[in-house]
Amino acid sequence: MSLLILAATLLLLTLAGYYMGRGRSVAVSGGSTHRLHSRPQYYGVYVALWCGMPSFLLLALWLALEPQIVEMILVSNLPSNILELSEDQKALVINQITHLALGGIVGGNITPEMEAAARDYAAMRQTGFAAMAVLVLCIAIAGLALGRKRIATTLRARNQVETVVSAVMIVASTIAIATTVGIVLSLLFEASRFFTKVPVTDFLFGLQWSPQTALREGQVGGSGAFGMLPLFAGTLLITFIAMCVAVPVGLYSAIYMSEYAGPRMRAVAKPILEVLAGIPTVVYGFFAALTVAPFFRNTGQALSLDVSSESALAAGMVIGIMSIPFVSSLSDDVMNSVPQTLRDGAYALGATKSETIKQVVLPAALPGIVGSVLLAVSRAIGETMIVVMAAGLAANLTANPLEAVTTVTVQIVTLLVGDQEFDSAKTLSAFALGLMLFVVTLTLNVIALRVVRKYREKYD
């Protein structure tokens, strides 16, 4: 909470800086503000920036780094008997110490050394915070004074403020890049840790997936198999089923919407179709598990077919339904951007509407349609909730849509939900799977976006 108070104080100081700067600039100009280079508000913002920016930056830096630094000091001060423990046990002890320091109740045996360390730790954090608070406030006040002192009629406050604003905008626009870099780095880092335990080739080409690791040394049956092929096969099977639903329905809807439907029908049906895209996937998952899967199972029973209650067919169908709007709305756009003159050309030859569509509009729109299908495929591959709720858990290398298969995303979820030990191959394998998922979907997206962009350029 004291952090909140500190932040509020800083904010107040910044606000004060604004008013001081504005007042000062008016005073400096001797009341005739037109003599100033910039409007008085800019001088206000100028001082506020001097006051707020360095202090808030320092605060943020401290918040990000403090836990790591303090823990490092804690570890370096630990008695040797703890330092000699294995990595896992050491982590546990450190965890216990930090909990103790926060006044929590900790199970297990607490040695006096640990209590002492906890006291040190608590004291360190407290002093650290106090020192930081004082420093931050000093910087804020110093900035305030400095900014105020620099105000003069010749100070180009507006230009300086605008430079800062531009810098902030540039930083904001690189956050998207930072996100991508963060994804890539974190996935690569965790996956490389996984690959030190399991060889890359075993992972990429293995036909067995049963992610167990030994809880104790030498446990029977503890060696797991981490071959991702069955997972990718399952993902592809479900994606294929989904596209069998989404592509014809989506494409034909798009054709009907863009070429046949009257403006009234378009105005009603198009938004309703888009609703399909707005429904959360967890709802589709529930629908798949509650309605679609039992329907297939019962139909299968009636036809004396053995349909699993977690069949790939049910999950794939529902993903397909979800993907209809992705295919239809983009294809619709693409077909609408096919120039009318091309259609006129075909009509003038005496082609019927469907002949015009099939032989002129669709071929012309093909790159865009392919792009939209690729995007839908990438979404289907990355879809998580529907398969988590409606597909199976056991890795099963099969092409039979009536059987249960599992997917990459299902495995990531089952591996990471619940208790995890962060150094086991089991947990880390989720990141390796995530990396594969990212690479595959990214490739598809890049290709799809490129194709669509090329197409757009052609007709714009």
């Binding site: 403006p263 120039p339 009318q340 003159t341 091309l342 259609r343 006129d344 050309g345 075909a346 009509y347 003038a348 030859l349 005496g350 082609a351 019927t352 002949e355 032989q359 002129v360 071929p363 012309a364």
Partner: protein, 267 residues
């Protein structure tokens, strides 16, 4: 109207001098009237040019002749237009059939994004002309030859039609139109997007095509009308002002509006 219709029935439409006859044609876009009570006869195996200032309704009239106006929302056509004596706006008549007989070439070249070969073969294919590959080959070659494009493209028939130059594209579109062997070809300012050399080629082509086709051409250029057409019709503000032999219309117009337009006083 009744009288006009009777008049038409007297002659044998198959042999009459007039391929298409328009009587009392008006066109409305929503509320606005774009064409007012136009009567016009299109002579068989002749080139008829429609001239007039922008927005005078000449393109609108042209699009009535093969019912391309059907494609435009809110467009309404009243009056009678006959092709060989048959009303083309008859509900029993089929648009597709009509357009197979009355082809069209547009202002901007609009080749399909397919190969040159497929551009030409498309029409014959949908109309069932030449089921065999060799027949289609022949149609393609003949059409391109007639359009004066064969020599230039015979080695790259499988390349996309969109890769040709503007003038070539337009000749491709003409070849595409004549591949179906229509009886009438409508041309909507076919040269407005082309350079003078390409224009000259197309004008030459039009003159040749006159042997086998009835041609109606909308043009902005009076010189072009004078060069290629036998008959000229002058439109102004939705009215057909004057229609007659090209020679006579350009040298000795009856109406002072025509006089004004051809001498460049407005346009």
């Amino acid at each position: 109207m009744a009288m006009a219709a009777e008049n038409l029935m007297v002659q044998n439409p198959e042999t009459s001098d007039h391929k298409m006859i328009a009587r009392d044609v008006s066109v409305y876009y929503g509320e606005a009237q774009a064409l007012k009570n136009v009567d016009l006869d299109i002579g068989r195996n002749e080139v008829t040019s429609l001239i007039g200032p922008s927005g005078c309704g000449k393109s609108t009239f042209l699009r009535c002749l093969n019912r391309m106006n059907d494609v435009i929302d809110g467009c309404r056509v009243v009056g009678d237009i006959t092709l060989d004596g048959h009303d083309i706006y008859d509900t029993k008549l089929d648009v597709v059939q009509l357009r197979a007989r009355v082809g069209m070439v547009f202002q901007k070249p609009n080749p399909f994004p397919k190969s040159i070969y497929d551009n030409i073969a498309y029409g014959p294919r949908i109309h069932g002309l030449g089921e065999a590959k060799s027949d289609t080959d022949e149609i393609v070659e003949r059409s391109l030859t007639r359009a004066g494009l064969w020599k230039e493209v015979k080695d790259r028939l499988d390349k996309p039609g969109t890769g040709l130059s503007g003038g070539q594209q337009q000749r491709l579109c003409i070849a595409r139109a004549i591949a179906v062997n229509p009886e009438v070809i409508l041309m909507d300012e076919p040269c407005s997007a082309l350079d003078p050399i390409a224009t000259a080629k197309i004008e030459e082509l039009i003159d040749e095509l006159r042997q086998n086709f009835t041609i109606v051409i909308v043009t902005h250029s009076m010189q072009q009308a004078a060069r290629v057409s036998q008959k000229t019709a002058f439109f102004h503000l939705g009215d057909l002002v004057e229609c007659g032999d090209t020679q006579q219309l350009f040298t000795n117009p009856n109406d002072e509006r025509t006089q004004g337009y051809i001498t460049g006083r407005f346009g």
